[in-house]
Symmetry: C2
Subunit: 193 residues, 2 copies
């Protein structure tokens, strides 16, 4: 798919061969999630699907949750930035939120699994969680531009997390969730531009 993302370390700097192994593992994980979901996914099956030994998978990912969270993180990273200098603030914010919400909307199984994996307690998951949170923050802050305000930013971050959970919990579809999220954002931004 893209970029130097394939060379980005999961645990350390990677050689070409290693990067390839990691890529095969994350791709196999996505297929596996599509087929059998979070609970059905096993590290052994992902490894086999990648043509790799199970022990090798654990060399790069400390846990099942870590592997799945890495999938989510890579998808978020591949998402293009929203230009910060065009259109109304509210429209820019709505676009950022919709982009993230719909990132995985086409694959609800994958999305739900990522949400669950994000809550894992291993240190590698915690680290990715921070990066993901920071990325959300950064994108929303950029979209707000001069209009940025801590309370508004927090409210938007909370809304984003809430929307993903609501969809992940099965309360609604990801498409509907994106609409609800947009509606929330407009209420939060209220009078402001």
């Amino acid at each position: 798919m893209s970029s130097d993302l394939a060379v980005e370390p999961t645990r350390r700097r990677l050689s070409k061969r290693q990067a390839d192994t990691v890529r095969r593992l994350t791709e196999a994980a996505i297929e596996e999630l599509r087929d059998v979901g979070y609970t059905g996914l096993t590290m052994r099956n992902v490894a086999t699907r990648s043509g790799v030994a199970a022990a090798t998978a654990y060399t790069y990912f400390s846990s099942k949750n870590h592997l799945i969270t890495e999938v989510f993180w890579r998808q978020l990273r591949e998402l293009p930035q929203v230009p910060a200098d065009q259109g109304l603030v509210v429209e820019r914010v709505v676009k950022v939120l919709r982009d993230i919400a719909l990132l995985v909307a086409g694959e609800p199984e994958v999305a739900a699994a990522c949400t669950a994996a994000l809550l894992g307690d291993d240190p590698d998951v915690a680290h990715l969680r921070e990066r993901i949170g920071a990325e959300w923050h950064r994108r929303l802050d950029a979209a707000l531009g001069d209009a940025s305000d801590p309370d508004v930013l927090n409210a938007l971050e909370i809304a984003l997390g809430g929307a993903l959970i609501h969809a992940g919990l099965g309360y609604c579809s990801y498409e509907r969730m994106a609409d609800l999220l947009e509606s929330s954002a407009r209420l939060i931004l209220g009078g402001r531009a």
Copy 2:
């Protein structure tokens, strides 16, 4: 500590003896979560702590996630209703949100575990999830009273879920989360009373 909640069925109507077993299991689960958290909790340990065989625990709870979700549900049920006819709408809403947010704030380990368990995919968890979602909806709707509006209600539900997740993910403490939630609610309710 209360009510006929102890007789409420988890899988079917319960005899006194059964209700007692279930109560011992949920109480042991809370203690276990406090001590060792979600990952550290094992059904066998909870069973032992309750003075019950493991197989018995599985008679009442189809999975670890089901047991923990039941804990969350029972705590939510025990939370007193906010009177719907006093004070400003916004203050009533804020109180409902704060109550739920702080429900388990004293026990972050328990709260985080519940959030994770809620995402489980077994049918018993799905069922409780619906009841929990409905309960949130009901309480917020009541607080809004005549001011109730589908968009506002959705935004508040999303904010509530988001806040729990943010705290569960460790982005902030539950106390701080309650404050952010309040601030979000005020933005969402905006001009409205």
